[in-house]
């Protein structure tokens, strides 16, 4: 049969305005951005020091590594998988990076090594999930224990001191802005465009939405899952590059609850835990939102212990809203 005539004008016009379509496609992102703005307005009226440059730097630059790791995590969740070992992975990569720096390796090697090692380790995870047909929650729980146990056994949780000053990438500024912010913004935009505009990104959404249909449409599902895990591992490596270089010491342990914080950023950012929908802009905004909430609590004198409770509440609300939205959209 002939290909459809592309010059035939469609006999309808998009009835919805551009604004309406943006709201429907990026609803969650807009809600989070609005929440951040509202939070800043409210808290700065109570305590104007909240808007100080130093505090903003702490909030955003200090948590940029979470946003960066959440980019890779979002991709994994979009394909319908999950990785609960990412916190342990970052702990291991930070230790490797720090030891390389201390041992006198060129700093750029200490920076870059986590990216490749992260991709390799996550690639193994991805291969077990895709070709071993194991649920990713099980594989990554196993990986979590291996990485965590291995790290503590080898290092005894020792602190890595005497890091060369040139290693402290996260403390540098480019054009007046802290490096972590550059990383966060650039990677978020790049990943967003990559997911939206490339065949690769599209295939991840298709796999998360319906793996059988994706396979029938010729998408190499297993290979894509391995590749996604590798990219996620690389993002964990970049997150390490920021995380390991922001203080003068590195503790050779796994940062507590890090994987939960990262997964939560993805989910609150609008990445459906069932796969198939969401964007990395949402997860980055959500990472900023948590950091802002944490900081705001200090500024309005609420115990920091409430932070986890507030975030937990946000998770439940987000997931409920996601389910309600799905039910509404698919009711025929």
């Amino acid at each position: 049969m002939a290909a459809p005539d592309l010059h035939a004008a469609p006999d309808f016009h998009p009835k919805r305005s551009l604004a309406a379509r943006i709201v429907s496609a990026y609803g969650q992102e807009i809600v989070i951005a609005a929440a951040i703005v509202a939070l800043f307005v409210v808290v700065s009226t109570i305590n104007p020091r909240f808007l100080g440059t130093n505090n903003l730097n702490t909030i955003i630059a200090g948590n940029a590594y979470i946003a960066v790791a959440a980019i890779g995590m979002s991709m994994v969740i979009i394909t319908g998988q999950i990785d609960v070992s990412v916190g342990a992975l970052i702990g291991v990569l930070a230790t490797i990076s720090g030891n390389l720096a201390v041992s006198g390796a060129p700093v750029w090697i200490a920076w870059i090594a986590p990216v490749f090692i992260g991709a390799a380790i996550s690639g193994v995870t991805g291969a077990l999930v895709a070709y071993g047909r194991l649920p990713s929650i099980v594989v990554t729980l196993g990986m979590l224990s291996i990485l965590k146990g291995g790290l503590v056994s080898v290092t005894g949780g020792a602190w890595i001191n005497h890091l060369p000053p040139a290693f402290q990438l996260a403390q540098q500024r480019w054009l007046g802005l802290p490096v972590p912010i550059w990383f966060m913004v650039a990677l978020t935009l790049l990943a967003f465009l990559w997911m939206r505009n490339t065949a690769f990104g599209r295939s991840l959404y298709a796999i998360g939405g319906n793996p059988e249909a994706a396979r029938a449409a010729g998408i190499p599902v297993e290979r894509r899952i391995v590749q996604t895990f590798m990219i996620h591992g690389a993002f964990a490596g970049i997150a390490t590059m920021i995380f390991a270089t922001q203080l003068r010491v590195i503790q050779s342990t796994v940062p507590p609850n890090l994987e939960l914080t990262i997964i939560t950023a993805s989910v609150i950012g609008g990445v459906s835990i069932l796969g198939g929908t969401g964007t990395v802009i949402g997860s980055t905004l959500a990472a900023i939102l948590f950091a802002a909430i944490g900081s705001a609590m200090i500024f309005v004198n609420v115990s920091a212990y409430w932070l986890r409770a507030v975030i937990g509440f946000l998770i439940l609300v987000t997931v409920l809203v996601d389910m309600a939205r799905r039910n509404r959209e698919f009711r025929q």
């Binding site: 065949a199 298709a206 190499p220 799905r326």
Partner: protein
């Protein structure tokens, strides 16, 4: 459609369960239309119909899983508008589903008495009595070899089924519904199961027996009820039907003269399949498909039709035989490979293999042919939307626009999106598996018209269908599958309900044997 007039079934006995005028809709689609049905004590009442005919819904209405929208259900003396699971248990109705609902980690006795175990006061389980009564129940089913202490997870499917039946009997079931009980059984086990069914009948249990296997039905059933498209086609004593008349009832005999079948322009062979086999799903399948031809493939559910399509499309690669495309032998190993060779497959189950529901029409339409709307790795959204718009227009899809999420569309429009996706790949061979299942009449005839047009433009179409009118109305030739083999190839001129129906029922195979 008016069901054929049935001779009134006058019975001196009161039915255990009877349904009168029962209707049920899901999401606006009527799956049961004004159905009457009853079960007498001491009978095996077979329930027949193709997939989607409404059998499962009917038995779920009786079992109290679904509440009907209209009609009444009488259990014994009680007349109800809807059965609750509790009514069903109290009324002595038990169901053995295809997917057995047992607990693999518990013992046979525990499974049999789960929820109503004998106790000894203070809620302590009376293990002795539980094991003894489980033993008695299994013995009464002639299953002396089944250990009541064995973990259910270690048992064969046939034994698990016996446990399920014992469980039903332990609740004093007077009506036993069996949903395709022999689907997963080997021949010897089928024999044993049929013995068990006969024993139960002799005890006065009324049995609703759902099966696709006609020989079993003739061996076991006293009466048979046929459903099609949710409507009751008829209930008859088994002595008054033949395999062929049952098939005719199941697939419909009125040929709709509205099938828009243009004059075919049949040209050279594009696909030649010889001796094709895939494990034990089908074997010795040989046929040719030509440009401009609509080749219909008929057969009962389980005859291997869909399996042939899955093999040609590379989802389950062939284990024997050859496939030639335009004279060149090919080994198709994956859907992607099939797609590159110009084969497209519109699957039987839209939800499972056809659509990604959270995605938009444009994203679904371009999915199998993204390269066409991409420069390097980047998708050109404007082109993608334009092509989707053209596809929507060409297929007459009713949608708000290319950016509408497909999950929101009706069944017929979803089917058009799946079809549009595959047409975008410019296939030479289009395989359509149940192209119009579950979609409304209007969309049905639109899809038929489209198939006729595509064939006229030179596409080779292999159409698998359970609807005989569709097969006869659309096909230039009809292939018939039975029990994993191709048993007949009938030209359009010779294809009629009798010839195709006979082949579907396996008559040809029996003659050949």
């Amino acid at each position: 459609m008016t069901p054929p007039v049935m001779p009134p079934v006058t019975s001196p006995v009161t039915p255990l369960v009877s349904l009168a005028g029962v209707s049920k809709s899901f999401a606006g689609v009527r799956v049961l239309k004004d159905v009457d049905f009853d079960v007498l004590p001491g009978e095996v009442h077979a329930l027949l119909g193709e997939n989607g005919a409404g059998k499962s819904t009917l038995i779920k209405v009786i079992a109290g899983v679904h509440a009907p929208d209209g009609g009444t259900i009488t259990i014994g003396e009680r007349e109800l508008a809807a059965v609750t699971p509790r009514d069903a248990v109290e009324g002595g109705i038990a169901t053995v589903y295809q997917e057995l609902l047992l607990f693999p980690e518990l013992s046979v006795a525990e499974n049999v008495f789960l929820g109503h175990a004998p106790t000894r006061g203070l809620g302590r389980l009376d293990w002795t009595q539980m094991r003894r009564r489980a033993r008695q129940l299994l013995d009464s089913l002639d299953s002396h070899d089944l250990d009541v202490d064995a973990k259910v997870g270690t048992l064969s499917v046939a034994n698990r089924q016996r446990v399920e039946i014992a469980k039903a009997l332990s609740q004093n079931a007077r009506v036993l519904i069996m949903d395709e009980p022999t689907a997963a059984l080997a021949d010897a086990d089928v024999r044993r199961l049929m013995d068990v069914v006969r024993r139960l009948r002799a005890r006065g249990v009324g049995i609703v027996y759902v099966s696709h296997k006609l020989p079993e039905i003739f061996e076991l059933a006293d009466r048979v009820t046929v459903l099609r498209d949710g409507a009751l086609i008829g209930t008859k004593p088994i002595a008054e039907v033949t395999e062929q008349s049952l098939v005719a009832m199941m697939v419909g005999r009125e040929i709709d003269h509205l099938f828009p079948k243009p004059e075919p322009a049949i040209r050279e062979t594009v696909l030649k399949v010889e001796g094709l086999a895939c494990g034990d799903r089908f074997r010795d399948v040989s046929f040719e498909l030509r440009r401009g031809e609509i080749l219909g493939m008929a057969g009962l559910v389980g005859s291997g039709r869909t399996e042939v399509a899955l093999t040609i499309f590379g989802i389950t690669p062939a284990t024997a035989g050859t496939i030639e495309l335009e004279g060149r032998p090919v080994a198709i190993t994956s859907p992607r490979h099939a797609c590159d060779l110009g084969i497209a497959y519109v699957p039987e189950d839209r939800g499972l293999q056809g659509l990604v529901r959270p995605m938009t029409i444009a994203q679904n339409v371009s999915m199998a042919s993204l390269r066409k709307v991409a420069t390097g790795i980047f998708i050109r959204f404007a082109d993608e939307a334009l092509r989707a718009a053209a596809s929507i227009k060409q297929l007459g899809t009713r949608a708000r626009g290319p950016d509408q999420v497909v999950g929101q569309l009706s069944g017929g429009n979803q089917q058009k999106v799946v079809l549009g996706k595959w047409l975008e790949t410019n296939p030479r061979i289009l395989i359509m598996d149940e192209p119009t299942r579950g979609i409304d009449v209007g969309a049905k005839s639109e899809i038929h018209a489209l198939m006729g047009r595509l064939a006229q433009e030179g596409m080779a179409i292999l159409m698998i269908s359970s609807e005989l009118p569709e097969v006869l109305g659309m096909s230039d030739r009809v292939l018939v599958m039975h029990a994993g083999r191709l048993v007949a190839a009938i030209d359009r001129a010779d294809a009629n309900p009798e010839s195709v129906g006979a082949a579907m029922a396996g008559a040809a195979a029996q003659e050949a044997a």
